[in-house]
Symmetry: C2
Subunit: 195 residues, 2 copies
Amino acid sequence: MIQDTAVSDLERPLTPRALEVVSAAREEFAAFGYAGATTDAIARRAGVSQPYVVRLFGSKERLFLRCALEAHRAVMDTFRQAIASTDERPVRESVLGAAYHDLVEDGTTLKLIVQQNSMGDDKAIGPVVRAWFLEVYGILRHEAQLSEVSAREFLARGMLINQLLALGLTETEDPGSKELLHYLAPTGERPAPGR
Amino acid sequence: MIQDTAVSDLERPLTPRALEVVSAAREEFAAFGYAGATTDAIARRAGVSQPYVVRLFGSKERLFLRCALEAHRAVMDTFRQAIASTDERPVRESVLGAAYHDLVEDGTTLKLIVQQNSMGDDKAIGPVVRAWFLEVYGILRHEAQLSEVSAREFLARGMLINQLLALGLTETEDPGSKELLHYLAPTGERPAPGR
DNA sequence: GTCTATATAGCGATAGAC
DNA sequence: GTCTATCGCTATATAGAC
């Protein structure tokens, strides 16, 4: 069970080495989830010993929380930068969509978000991820000033993209799946040069 | 790692007792995922001993695959029944939405789907869930005959609902979250008697 | 068909050397 | 700051009794 960890602890500055471990942890947690990832795999990916990973962060739980908070902030910062880039209100959805595309490109962040969102029944992290989710929705509604319907539809498209990323459908060559990837294009409309 | 298991094995008929274990397993896997769930918790929930759970299905993996296949079929059957209930083509989205609402009510099935969809990086189950996802999309496109855009938007709304379910946001009293739950209403429009 | 007892392995965490 | 050695727990799986 993930314990209550002070945010200040999660924001403690890290040595370059520790940052490499966080990076490795993000990949492992994004791919296999909190329960499925192992500190050993994280250590091997980072090129350090397993006990050192635990030593650096106190526990697997605290390392996970740091990764999770980082992913959440990446999403919020991305939207806030997009919102700050224009004076239009409501912010055009294509502006927000283009910002989201940046998150899609790194891949890991959104896959980690999917893992977090599947932990609603976890006693400790459940309340946290619920609050985070509502926080993102709040940004769309009150900072980007999207209507109720627009915010919901935008969020829904985001959730589909997240699922496609988590599933790994963005890397298949399946012809039938190509049309499903439409939302992943950088902007709403693509030129479609050939036809 | 989840091994290759013949479908015939997953369809072997079960004794009433074994069905109770499957039911318990579905709940545990839906809440905590494949890695996070334990055969011990499944056994306790079903009121049997832990070794008996393993004995009944051979391994935790095979039990999970049975639960996963069951959830996938529940989704497909639900859509196919809705499609068969009308001659209109494309099928009206409200008809499909109402059918989806039945799945929302039991809760477990869609939470299990979310867990499965977060296992794209699993060597054995990844390819399976990718195929299943495309199968559902195929039903929307070619059996319900939704347009590319309609199918995608409908699927996107479904993914948002799934996330809200997995997060447990359907059970909160948070006033700011209420408007987000709009899609969970039985039909598109609600009377809203009070205002 | 179902249990108790137990083997076996994997993993997170600790101790202590360098 | 980082490693090696290792502990102790937990979890899956097996053996065998009833």
